[in-house]
Symmetry: C2
Subunit: 235 residues, 2 copies
């Protein structure tokens, strides 16, 4: 289930009901065994009688490391499901949007076909960021492209020729390259960054013109609005 | 404020709190003066002491018709704000995502700069549709394109060469053209439609191969997953 982007009140009623009625609540471990983001978001909604289950999803891209971790997580969850104990898996943002939930659900279904899995949608970070910026993400005939990360400079350049709105997820590791491209196309004043949208320590950068070297945290998202009409302010 | 896609329980806690604490609740009129979608979604959350304010946003694309309607809506809302009565504007889906809220907020700010406007994010239809389908919308390195409607067949063909996931919003009026393009690229079995996601009368089409002539309702959304890894099922 989706728990939203940071503000605990951005969980849906449906998500909260499932969360509070599940005897077991699972969530991804954070870096260095600290509670992960989802665990922080839902902390106030849990009660002491609920069992918590920390699942380890390594922060790497190597499938030889990830696959056994996904399978182990599925096994841990199944131990409860097999006893008819529902498990709520808390996931930051939305469960269908670049989410760890996908891998857990897939492995559960493959390994234990009798497992019942339900996805509860939630607030995703591009929309939370737009609300925080006080702008529409998209309107009218605008075409939206969302890139999970920058894998090719040429690809970003192509997208900038074509879309009216471009979102770069998790932009921190490629920020200086992206800044150069935006500078080349004279788009720095049409680019915005939201770090940790809706968290108490949210940071907003409304114009990147003088910021070639930002040190950004992992949950940083960049929005480029190429179309003037997209600059209607809403708050 | 965003009220989600249809299921009343997909409103956020934050949205519900604002909705129930506002003396005035505004929403768009439906077709033929019936209650609009947002009004239907929130009906059970309102109490009789709350004033409801129906705003008329014509279902046309002509700015000469729309602009005076937006200005009139802003004036009606301002009558309450000027008396320090908060107005919650209920909007289906998310307020920053192709939403009427944008035009209301823009006109309010232009006409009454002292108005305070806040956007509360919510569940958007592509993510609600993905959850209903039991698939991830996006995962891993998949690039996502969202098109508000089909304005050019060539544009859709280009996108299909390039993106891993394509969402066509409000596909009903152009469905037969889209079907032809998907057929040409042998993608009909990778295309899915969700009508009225999360409403009680939600309809899902998982494969469009034998469906060149679907009669779809206005809130119908098409997802094409071009990348095999996107076909991991999650529910």
């Amino acid at each position: 289930m989706s728990v939203g982007t940071g503000d605990p009140e951005l969980i849906t009623l449906k998500g909260l009901k499932i969360l509070q009625n599940s005897p077991v609540v699972a969530f991804p471990a954070g870096v260095g065994n600290k509670p992960g983001i989802a665990a922080q978001i839902i902390a106030d909604w849990l009660n002491p009688a609920q069992k918590t289950l920390v699942l380890n999803f390594p922060y790497v891209q190597d499938l030889r490391v990830l696959t056994p971790a996904w399978r182990q997580a599925a096994t841990l969850v199944w131990e409860y499901l097999a006893q008819n104990q529902d498990v709520a898996f808390a996931c930051e943002g939305d469960v269908s949007f670049y989410s760890t939930f996908t891998y857990l659900a897939q492995n559960l279904r493959q390994m234990y076909p009798q497992a019942k899995v339900e996805a509860i949608p939630g607030v995703s970070s591009p929309l939370a960021a737009a609300a925080a910026l006080g702008i529409p993400l998209t309107l009218w005939k605008q075409k939206l492209v969302i890139l999970p990360a920058l894998y090719s400079v040429i690809e970003l350049e192509n997208v900038l020729q074509w879309a009216e709105v471009v979102v770069l997820m998790k932009v921190s590791s490629v920020y200086s390259q992206v800044w150069q491209i935006l500078a080349k196309y004279n788009l720095l004043n049409r680019a915005m960054i939201v770090e940790r949208a809706t968290f108490p320590n949210q940071i907003i950068y409304q114009d990147l013109s003088d910021r070639p070297d930002l040190q950004l945290s992992y949950f940083s998202l960049l929005i480029v609005k190429l179309d003037d009409s997209g600059f209607l302010e809403t708050s």
